[in-house]
């Protein structure tokens, strides 16, 4: 394959010490190519979310090495990683975390306002486009705390896309959506990967969803299988 490597995980190991010492991730190594649409499946408790937090650079307490876009991220400081996430990674949480006292529009704009590559007006314009694409433009000026679960999840997806990140990660990003909206999100992800070359990694329990992605990585008990 001549395509570039977007993400490289090298012997990732993760332990939890909390109730009792416990190895969640057992020596995971894999690569994801640029523009690849990847789904991560596996039983509940197999370590998918844990892996995704490491891949998204939020979790730094792991063994092994993580490289994204050729940049080795293991060992960087929290603030360096925050700046990296802001520019290169869009993340949709399993429980669509929004800031409830801000409108849907403001929530979407926040990462872009931090990145400061575009003017406020351009950012707003773009946020509106995403809202329209996801079918929730009428909710733009509502406080996000007042939206339904499905609407909040779509706002969270729009927020993940706002900075045109090279990698978009989602932890069951369609978990709260009906089949119609799930299809909308799938089509967006598909277009992003094919047309814009953005890499997508999503955890999903939806077999139909997974089947239509470029590649499925299945996890079981902290290992790839």
């Amino acid at each position: 394959m001549e395509k570039k490597i977007a993400l490289k995980a090298n012997h990732l190991v993760k332990y939890f010490n909390q109730p009792e010492p416990f190895q969640v991730l057992k020596d995971l190594s894999f690569e994801v190519k640029s523009g690849e649409f990847l789904s991560l499946t596996g039983k509940s408790g197999s370590g998918k979310s844990t892996l995704l937090y490491i891949l998204s650079t939020m979790d730094t307490a792991y063994g092994g090495e993580l490289t994204i876009n050729g940049i080795k991220l293991t060992g960087k400081s929290q603030d360096q990683l925050a700046a990296f996430r802001n520019e290169h990674i869009g993340f949709v949480f399993q429980f669509h975390y929004l800031l409830p006292e801000f409108t849907a529009l403001e929530n979407i704009m926040l990462p872009a306002l931090k990145l400061k590559k575009k003017s406020r007006e351009e950012i707003k314009e773009k946020a509106y486009q995403h809202l329209k694409l996801l079918g929730i433009e009428e909710q733009a000026l509502k406080l996000s705390g007042k939206l339904s679960g499905g609407q909040q999840q779509r706002v969270a997806i729009a927020r993940a896309l706002i900075n045109d990140p090279s990698i978009i990660m989602g932890d069951e990003p369609t978990g709260n959506l009906d089949s119609k909206n799930t299809q909308v999100v799938f089509d967006i992800f598909r277009e992003l990967s094919e047309v814009y070359g953005q890499t997508i990694i999503t955890v999903t329990h939806d077999d139909d969803f997974a089947k239509n992605t470029d590649r499925i990585i299945e996890m079981s008990d902290g290992r790839l299988c």
Binding site: S49, M58, Q78, D79, Y97, F102, L115
Partner: protein, 413 residues
């Protein structure tokens, strides 16, 4: 970027108005109390000083008689000598200040001196028939005395300037006149320790509201006093000096004492009790206000801590989206500082109004007809800065805590 952080801070401040208002009230209360109490204490101190300086000079130069000769032995003897001291006496010495005109000229050349006036002070008995009262007769230069002490403003009857035209006229303190049972145009007999006696006519009565002054002091023209004591036309016992800042007398006293062969004494030294008292008032007021501010600061600290605990999830999201620890610190510190600045401004306004209202309330006591208040920009500035510093510290600690939050820990749970 800062704009976005400020905006987030603004949203958080307005989203929970009750908490914000409680924090704001704390600071407002602290600052207004600080401003009010300092206004009041400064007002009282300034009032007392103003009263005091109608009779005390900032600095006084006087001839205290010969130097202390009670210990004649240790100076003269050595270990082997036997000393026989018999019939020790104070030999005749010159009273008064020599060459006062020259000394006055020297004093007037000092940069901080705003006025100098000579006096001939003599301890006397005032008599009216069988009534005999010990007191102090002050021979003064009528115009100069008034320029320094504005004594004319304290006349309750008669006219200060009559001293110039009536060589045998005397002006008495109000309590002294009462004790002697005399009024305007009555006669008073004055008797010095040397046995000189003179009959004088009361031409005025003054009231300074300082009991000790009003009960013992009388004024006479300086030349009449010299004549009465049979002294020459340049005889002076005291030089009264006023300076531009009464709080700062030590350097001048220091300088003068090296060249002037007489006692040079500042009001701080001669009125140590008053000085200590005004310092103490000031300290107590500052301590109390500072405590109030500290409590307000603690209130802010608590509220900020609460806010951060409530918003811990949102802080984690902001960090997950790429906001740095510094951004988070700015967001929360801004909230504290907005509370500090707003509370400071409102507090200063309320403190000012409070002082203004209290000043309007009638309060009759001694020389007062209302409580004295002083409004100094310096005190307001101080209160504002104190308030800001308190809120900064109270806000900074929780904000740092927020900045250190690990986003995964929060998001995972």
């Amino acid at each position: 970027m800062l704009n976005t952080n400020y905006k987030i801070a603004g949203v958080y401040l307005t989203a929970k108005p009750r908490q914000t208002i409680v924090a704001l009230l704390g600071v407002t209360f602290g600052i207004s109390m600080y401003v009010f109490m300092i206004s009041f204490v400064t007002g009282v101190n300034e009032m007392t000083n103003k009263l005091a300086f109608t009779s005390f000079a900032h600095i006084r130069i006087y001839n205290d008689g010969p130097k202390d000769n009670t210990d004649l032995i240790s100076e003269k003897s050595n270990e082997t000598a036997l000393v026989n001291l018999r019939n020790a006496k104070v030999i005749k010495y010159t009273t008064g200040i020599k060459n006062p005109a020259e000394l006055i000229k020297l004093l007037q050349h000092q940069p901080e001196v705003t006025g100098v006036t000579p006096q001939v002070n003599v301890s006397v008995f005032f008599r009216n028939g069988g009534n005999k009262i010990n007191g102090m007769l002050s021979g003064v230069e009528v115009d100069a005395e008034n320029r320094l002490f504005t004594i004319a403003d304290y006349m309750v009857s008669g006219n200060w300037n009559s001293l110039k035209t009536q060589p045998n006229g005397i002006i008495l303190g109000v309590k002294l006149a009462k004790s002697l049972r005399v009024g305007i145009d009555d006669n008073v007999n004055v008797l010095t320790a040397e046995g000189i006696m003179k009959n004088l006519k009361v031409i005025g009565v003054f009231k300074t509201n300082m009991g000790s002054i009003d009960g013992t002091k009388a004024y006479l023209n300086i030349n009449s006093t010299r004549q009465m004591l049979a002294k020459n036309q340049s005889y002076v016992t005291d030089l009264q000096i006023m300076v531009n800042d009464y709080k700062v007398t030590a350097p001048l006293v220091q300088r003068l004492s090296t060249v002037v062969p007489y006692n040079t004494e500042s009001w701080q030294t001669s009125n140590q009790q008053m000085y200590a008292q005004s310092k103490l008032y000031d300290m107590v007021a500052r301590a109390v206000s500072f405590t109030i501010l500290l409590v307000a600061g603690f209130g802010i600290y608590n509220i900020m801590n609460m806010t951060i605990n409530e918003k811990i999830k949102e802080i984690a999201i902001l960090k997950a989206m790429g906001y740095s620890g510094f951004d988070i610190t700015v967001i929360f510190l801004t909230q504290a500082l907005v509370i500090g600045v707003l509370g400071g401004i409102i507090g200063m306004l309320i403190g000012f109004c409070l002082g203004y209202i209290v000043e309007l309330i009638p309060f009759k006591m001694g020389a007062l007809d209302h409580l004295p208040m002083a409004y100094h920009v310096k005190d307001y500035l101080m209160a504002f800065l104190f308030g800001l510093a308190t809120t900064f510290i109270a806000g900074y600690m929780p904000a740092r805590k927020a900045a250190k939050i690990d986003p995964v820990e929060i998001i995972r749970s």
